[in-house]
């Protein structure tokens, strides 16, 4: 019996008001185990990203609750949610993940700065993380000087900066060629092996097939 890291209760999210409301999520109950690799799949516009935003403390549900590692997220204020994200969750998005005016190493350091880590320690850990994703020699490169795959590897390194329990990714390989995609996936599975809980929103059936559990979202509900 693996212990539950994330649990939702009747999670609903509604956008808009009056006649033009959109029901993005309609009563989602799910649980995600610690150390698992989950894929959230489903058609576009059916609530995948909304679900990830709610699980990742980026947004608040219209009703229902998210319990993450024993914390009821609805009890946290906006500053509390920000702090929670910074410590517990590492995000990787599909596009334009990196801050363009900063180098690869500085992007990683920024995540640590926001958690209040001293500059000297930031630089040290940024070097380690770049080595982990195989980009030691690109520490001073700006995002514009990196390939799409390299940028995503920097984004993963940054997501790991504060040693979070959970990695949440929204189509992390969505705009990469298959070689770069394979590199990214290898890193993700290795991180999962090391104990990180990984949640990936994806259209890619290949990733879904390799995941431990698949969460299918359709019309704002979970389909078995």
């Amino acid at each position: 019996m693996s212990d539950t890291l994330i649990r939702t209760e009747n999670l609903t999210k509604t956008y808009g008001r009056g006649g033009a409301t959109t029901h993005a999520l309609r009563g989602v109950d799910l649980s995600i185990s610690r150390g698992s690799f989950s894929a959230i799949v489903g058609p576009s516009g059916h609530g995948k990203s909304t679900l990830m935003h709610l699980l990742g403390a980026l947004d608040r549900p219209t009703s229902g609750a998210v319990h993450l590692d024993g914390t009821d997220l609805s009890r946290l204020d906006s500053a509390g949610l920000a702090k929670f994200r910074g410590r517990k969750i590492g995000f990787v998005f599909q596009f334009f993940n990196l801050l363009r005016s900063l180098s690869a190493a500085e992007n990683i350091e920024t995540a640590m700065m926001l958690s209040g880590i001293a500059p000297k320690k930031q630089a040290e850990r940024a070097r380690e993380l770049l080595a982990l994703v195989g980009l030691s020699e690109k520490a001073d490169a700006r995002p514009g000087e990196l390939s799409g795959g390299q940028q995503q590897r920097v984004a993963i390194a940054r997501a790991l900066a504060n040693d979070p329990d959970i990695l949440m990714m929204d189509e992390p390989t969505g705009n990469l060629d298959s070689a770069a995609e394979e590199e990214i996936l290898n890193i993700l599975f290795e991180l999962n092996q090391q104990g990180k809980t990984v949640i990936v929103v994806t259209h890619n059936l290949d990733i879904a097939r390799r995941a431990q559990s698949i969460i299918r979202v359709q019309d704002g509900q979970i389909r078995a």
């Binding site: 906006s78 920000a82 005016s101 920024t110 700065m113």
Partner: protein, 387 residues
Amino acid sequence: MTLTSLVIRNITSRRGRFVFTLLGISIGIASFVTFLSLGGSLKSEIQRESAALGANLVVTPKGSCAYEQVAILTGEQLPNTITGEEVAKIRAIDGMMAIPFLSERSAIDNRPVAVMGILPAETMEFKHWEILKGDYLADGDETGVIVGAVAAEQFKLQPGSEVTIRGERLPVRGVIKETGGKDDVTLFLPLPLAQRLYNAEDKASYVAVRVADIENLELYAQKIKEVVSLGVITDKQMLKSVLSIVGTVNVTLQLIAAVAILAAAFGIINTMMTATYERKREIGILQALGARRRTIFSIFLLESGLYGIFGGALGVLGGLVFSVLAAPQISSNHFTAFVKGSASSGLISPGLVFGSIAFSTVVAIVAGLYPAWRAAKLSPVEAISYE
């Protein structure tokens, strides 16, 4: 990485906009500093001239207004309506020393110069001049001229050379050591000679009075008014009324500068608003990385604050350079002629420098409040979903 280095990277990564926004605030502050320092030197110059006049009381033609009082301090041409008879009556009062001056203007090589008719011996006692070259006007000298140090240099005059005033060639006897005031740019003639050259027989422009007993200044003013029907003003009253004119001029100049700074403030608001739109995605990423609203707010406010500090420093530098360059131009205007030579004195005060930079920073921070609030108000999802 620190918050400040993050902000500096943000600013400098868009160089064109950085430079133009900076120029906006710099120009505003530069005009502010220019007007303030010119106004300040005008004021200190007037105070110095008032002290250099060395009089406790000044007797002016009846009905003189503030403009004539300015002219006494600046060496401008004055109506010469005080008669020799009136001067004699004033000089007859005990316990004070009264000296008439005839203030006129001439031109050498088409450049204006102040000409002053004086009583040599008594004026010397009044002003305590030191002689740089040659001799002072001797008793009974009816044709000689002595020259202020700056005028001597400007017109290449020295003992032994000649100067033409009103068509008459006059020998230069000596040069007065620099006083830092308008005497430096004046030619001094014996009073009778000046009266003859300017067809002002037996006339004077004003009478400077120094009393023995400063406590009874008002009493002496009263005595003068009893014997002649002329205006009498104390040095303090004169200073006050002249400074109030200068103050009005200064306020006007500062209002113009304020408009420039206001325009610059809107430039900053515009730049920062554009930045909040452009960096929406980046704001979302920072929020996902754990940045609180307060942090986002600080980042944007710090950015506009830095515009204020850099722009202020650049503006102060530009303003000081401009006022040093502008001072000679302004001195060719009659009314402000005496600003000349004062460009370096009291202009670069630490108070002005730091005050202006602080002012610029405060303006920039205030201008940055709304954009920073807008940026901080973004929800993470809204910011991340923006492409």
